[in-house]
């Protein structure tokens, strides 16, 4: 396993080394020591490398990730896995706001809570939050799945498009055009698949979840709906 100590190695050197990795590189398992809240750690990865980060990270950890698996053994700052395309990012602690923002693919797992705007503008990413999510999560969410084992905050799914939201606990309020929908077998299967991928296996009963999605009333601007905004 390769290691990089950010107490002695610069972020630039670390990211450049990770960017140089090819799919068949010998060192496809890295450990990053002393992250000390540094921003943009392991951002822009393209190789199928596993990067384990021992500690807390700042903004945009694993931003725009492609194919890599990034594990944060700590908390993550703003915009973790933003615009992720593929691969997997796992935060063992809590995540700050905008986790998985505009993500297009891959899986983001947050073992703790996620703050405001989790999954904002998501475009195909799957997000599993084992705790709760803050206000305006899944704002303008276009595609993908957000699974929340705890509670949802205010204005969940505001102006949502085609993303699917699953919340096991309560939701403080739903945003514009976001409504509760029936949890059918296909949705239970989807939640089960995502929980399995998040390492929860059969520990959680998928029937406990509530599904939310778009009412599609605001897909075409109409003056009669102006009060919804």
């Amino acid at each position: 396993m390769a290691a990089a100590d950010l107490a002695t190695t610069s972020l630039r050197e670390l990211n450049a080394a990770l960017h140089r990795l090819a799919p068949d590189s010998a060192d496809l398992h890295w450990r990053v020591l002393n992250p000390r809240g540094e921003h943009a750690i392991a951002a822009g990865l393209t190789a199928p490398v596993t990067v384990e980060i021992d500690g807390h990270v700042g903004y945009y950890c694993a931003g725009m990730n492609q194919r890599a698996r990034v594990v944060v053994h700590g908390n993550a700052g703003q915009g973790v896995a933003e615009n992720m395309m593929s691969g997997e990012v796992r935060v063992e602690g809590d995540a700050s706001q905008s986790a998985g923002a505009s993500g297009c693919g891959g899986l983001l797992v947050i073992d703790g809570n996620a703050a405001a705007r989790c999954g904002i503008s998501m475009k195909g990413i799957d997000i599993v939050v084992k705790g709760s999510v803050g206000h305006l999560s899944a704002f303008m969410a276009q595609a993908g799945n957000l699974v929340v084992l705890g509670d949802g905050g205010d204005a969940l799914g505001d102006s949502i498009y085609e993303a699917r939201l699953y919340v096991r606990g309560s939701v403080k309020s739903l945003g514009a055009d976001c409504i509760a929908k029936p949890l059918r077998d296909q949705h239970k299967g989807e939640v089960h698949r995502l929980l399995d991928a998040a390492g929860l296996g059969n520990q959680v009963d998928v029937a406990d979840f509530h599904r939310y999605g778009s009412a599609r009333r605001l897909y075409h601007f109409h003056i009669d709906n102006v009060g919804s905004y």
């Binding site: 725009m64 915009g79 923002a101 505009s102 297009c104 503008s121 475009k123 276009q142």
Partner: protein
Amino acid sequence: MSAPLDRWIHTPPRKSATFDDHAIAEIRRAAATGIYDIRGAGAKRKLPHFDDLLFLGASVSRYPLEGYREKCLTEVTIGTRHAKKPITLKIPITIAGMSFGSLSAQAKEALGRGASAVGTSTTTGDGGMTAEERAHSTALVYQVLPSRYGMNPDDLRRADAIEVVVGQGAKPGGGGMLLGQKITQRVAEMRVLPEGIDQRSACRHPDWTGPDDLEIKIRELREITDWEKPIYVKVGASRPYYDIALAVKAGADAIVLDGMQGGTAATQDVFIEHVGIPTLAAIRPAAQALQDLGMHRKVQLIVSGGIRNGADVAKCLALGADAVSIGTAALIALGDNDPHLEEEYRALGTTAGAYDDWHEGRDPAGITTQDPVLAARLDPVTAGRKLANFLSVLTLETQTIARACGKSHIHNLEPEDLVALTVEAAAMARVPLAGTDWIPGVNTYAR
């Protein structure tokens, strides 16, 4: 015989300057529909503009350059502050960001062809990068917008520069809108949206909210692209001194400053006409911010919004810009609002030169449309050649003025070369009222 006095009994009809024909028509339109007017393009009302400035030219105290003999260089390099690979443009005129979606693929290709032919850059827009524009653009700036539609790290790496869009002159503080008529299957797939819906673009970025965040965001983009690409920050002109200072602080290599005459694909008319400030008023505060920070010419300033000819280009440069960007003028060069389409414009309830319902996707010129039949009307090769011609003329005109002012490089133009025709323009551009030494707000009028 004198005229009968009874002809003066009734006062002649007098229309209100306040409630003019346009205001009255808009009241009636609003009363009939219950919704605000949405349109494309930039501010249409009369504003203090570059026509309110004049160059002084050379005289006894200034030495001109021979127009057909002596060189006047036009090359501009952008991204010298931090980027490993700055881009060098042969001319100081670039093509502004306009999306595939708002524009047809043919129009985007034509913009790339025209810009590349004269050695300058073009810019993507909301919705991502198309293969056509990448293939036909030798220098392509990739926009990172609040919506992140089509945002792809592979395209980020394929770009020659990156532009973080905070706002645009037509609507500082506003998001975008693309009505369902233009959300075709291809546009919908690029934006991950259902086909045919009215698409909204966010007005704020999803993962940063202020200047300190922006600094970290820019650093992330640099890390992802290994510090190779110049990173621009684009702002709509509203508080230029502070916005430019904050963009510099955030680490921008270049700043795009877009005045309220700058166009948009679609926004509320009230937004276009009443939010933001004119381009003329924005440049000097922006340049001042750069000078105060010791960053003038180190962080390049690119100005856009209502630039029509080489005189406008030269005036922007003299006021402190490093380059300019054109959008509306480029579309006109491609064939937008051409009088030969007058019959079709009339069928749409408008006239050539006034057509601005770009959001409806029925552009007879094939530019602001996704209708395959209409879009096929635009030949990218011919349209690209027309744009290249126009860019060449802008450059020649700029050089003509620069030489007349004795400048061997267009960047040597300076405010001292300018005077203003109106008190307002003098105050905004911070140059003297013509024939005086008076710069309102800077010194007092002395006879």
